[in-house]
Symmetry: C2
Subunit: 464 residues, 2 copies
Amino acid sequence: MAKGASLSGFPEWLPQERAVEQKIIDTLRRVFELHGFLGIETRAIEQGSSLLKKGETSKEIYLLSRLQEVGHESDTPLENRLGLHFDLTVPLSRYVVENSGALVFPFKRWQIQKVWRGERPQEGRFREFVQADIDVVGNGDLAEHYEVELPLVMVEALERLGKYGLPKATVHANNRKLSEGFYRAVGLTDVEGVLREVDKLDKIGADEVSKLLVSECGADETQAAACLELAEITTSDAQELASRFDALCDKYGVDKDSDAYSLAQQGLSTLAHIVADAASIRPGAVLADLKIARGLDYYTGSVYETFLDGAPQLGSICSGGRYDNLASQGKKKYPGVGLSIGLSRLLSYLLHTVGATASRQSPAAVMVAVWDEASRDASNSIADALRARGINTDVSPNDAKIGKQIKYASKLGIPYVWFPANDAGEEATGDQVKNIITGEQSDADSMSWIPDTVYAQQAISIEE
Amino acid sequence: MAKGASLSGFPEWLPQERAVEQKIIDTLRRVFELHGFLGIETRAIEQGSSLLKKGETSKEIYLLSRLQEVGHESDTPLENRLGLHFDLTVPLSRYVVENSGALVFPFKRWQIQKVWRGERPQEGRFREFVQADIDVVGNGDLAEHYEVELPLVMVEALERLGKYGLPKATVHANNRKLSEGFYRAVGLTDVEGVLREVDKLDKIGADEVSKLLVSECGADETQAAACLELAEITTSDAQELASRFDALCDKYGVDKDSDAYSLAQQGLSTLAHIVADAASIRPGAVLADLKIARGLDYYTGSVYETFLDGAPQLGSICSGGRYDNLASQGKKKYPGVGLSIGLSRLLSYLLHTVGATASRQSPAAVMVAVWDEASRDASNSIADALRARGINTDVSPNDAKIGKQIKYASKLGIPYVWFPANDAGEEATGDQVKNIITGEQSDADSMSWIPDTVYAQQAISIEE
């Protein structure tokens, strides 16, 4: 991270680190476009009334005031004030409603943008970070198959980051209908409360969650035990998922004619479909994991979290789910499903734990030397000839001794230094180019020379 | 622009418009990297103390407050509050100082990001917009040749946007030292005041500016006339520039031994160099235009504005200059020179005046049809085979009648519809692909088929 970064929670990257971020963004965008997602951006600013809607992050917003309004901020009610978006899902919902007449549904979109969370500064928490999202939003309804396909697109995208050192990612999927149906079927009514407590399992453990279910959600010991047993079910096998769920229902005497059980079965069916399809296309990529709750967010069906092998401390790096009620216009609903990669945290992990780095600071493959300032135009002409053929080229900042010019190229990681022709009497030469990594030097013509493939592009490597 | 855009000054684009913006950004980035600029991003948020430094836009900042702080905002002094950056130059200066130990100088960087201006909403003014900047920042000193080269890089970048309908761009250059030296040489002392009034020439005309020079800046009629005559000098010929300036100095009896004249000559020399070099590399691209003032900004040497042929109403679309005093650390200075494209305004012009549009909404070249939901996996496999070979591919959202599926592809502008093999008795066929624009249909193999070049990519075209 940029060393002097003077504001806690607002990461900035050095050029060589930013090059890694740029490659990640390019890679994700490529995968999203391969799958036919349309790219959009939404404004960074939303109205308070949008931001303060339900959602676990809505308490962490940054509100804005114009310099001229300072001291009078409170004259404006919160709903009418402007604030920075805290995710890309709430803005998407607004965008879809506002532009419904101009969009083709189902609307598949990708979006990579910064978001802001107005939290207290804490170690390791970002207050400004980049999210990379894909969502599909339907007009009125949305087919279930998108709940199967979207996590697989994200798995494919994350797999492509393997070459930058990202470990294998596994999507853990659950379904709100399954959880809610089961909780209701065993007689619990505070579904939100139960989800909130179950969401704490990884942090505080089963015993504490059990106590909270009793003290906060009106559960008895048996009901608390049922919730915890449900949360223990983890499998990548659709058959096993169904049979373990059935066994649990039998154990706790669930009425299989009840509406609650039927709701749970809806969720189970979607989840089984996700797991089965994933197993045939990308074995091991998706796991049913019935403790995944996603806190108090706006999800109504599938929910997803994604973990990296060997990096549990990172938590979920790609989360999302299905939301049926986030966007609506009169009676019309726009149900959606989507996932969001927390890109900045991922980048930080790749840079600082994995040791990913750009092969060089500069995008340039060549630096043209300058014999003296009077001949800078000649050096510029060579550079322009190389650029016209697509070769990224810098020119020496000065006409210092050649050793110093080479040092400048070397510090930037530029592999080739180009020496323009000189007519210095007996030592006259034509244009020459030197690979300052291998030491190889040869005659060269700016109209035809090309760099060796291995040195042509800024690439990402992993430090041993 | 997205029709429903509900917040004045915060533009959002429909997918087909956003595709144009993305192509522009990709094109600019390509040119900047060809010239060896390093890409960085800075955080969107700066401390009040940075934002409130001198600069004509610093009165238009958005300040932030966390939701929890509402009502107590005024407890924090402005300098300690956070705000959104209003340009990319002030953040660059901070970034360079903070990371000076890790950067290679001269530091050449490109940066394309959103900025915000907390102005009152006005017709046609953006409060959130994208800027595309290049700058070179030196450590201690900075060679003059960058003042020549940077506007030419921008001209090259803008030229490449010609294929999206951008008219020819001309950089109008001036030099603060030239203006200041001349003003002082004719006896004026309120240099900033004179620059501020001269900056209004295009808006209010020479007569009004003349009055203001007298009433606001202590000029007499002769001095005001001298300023206006200086502002009339426009030429792309370095010789003519020097001789017209000299004639003006003679006319107003300037003392050629004075410090003021010597300062003016320094500025003249740089400007002449810019014009001469540009004339040899890109004739007509750069014009000396001595009325360019850049208001109260932080510039100390060259200043640039860029205008499009036939679009004076747009004003300058790419502005900048040399700043020697923006960044410093103790006694060390980091002088810089740079230019900034107002990308959102440019995009708005291309979309709404020129009629630039993406050839299709979707990046996909192919949509694979789905005979029935039971065979969706087969359609997905075909799509994955095409994607593995780099072909952007969507899959039909449903198993509606083929006519309806084709209509979905057609609305998204996807040129090819793929029909998976079907074993429907006598009508059985292998895989087939249909170009729904030409009507051509043929057998196809997902392992080898490629789209016609003209239909392969989303492209930008200009409506007649």
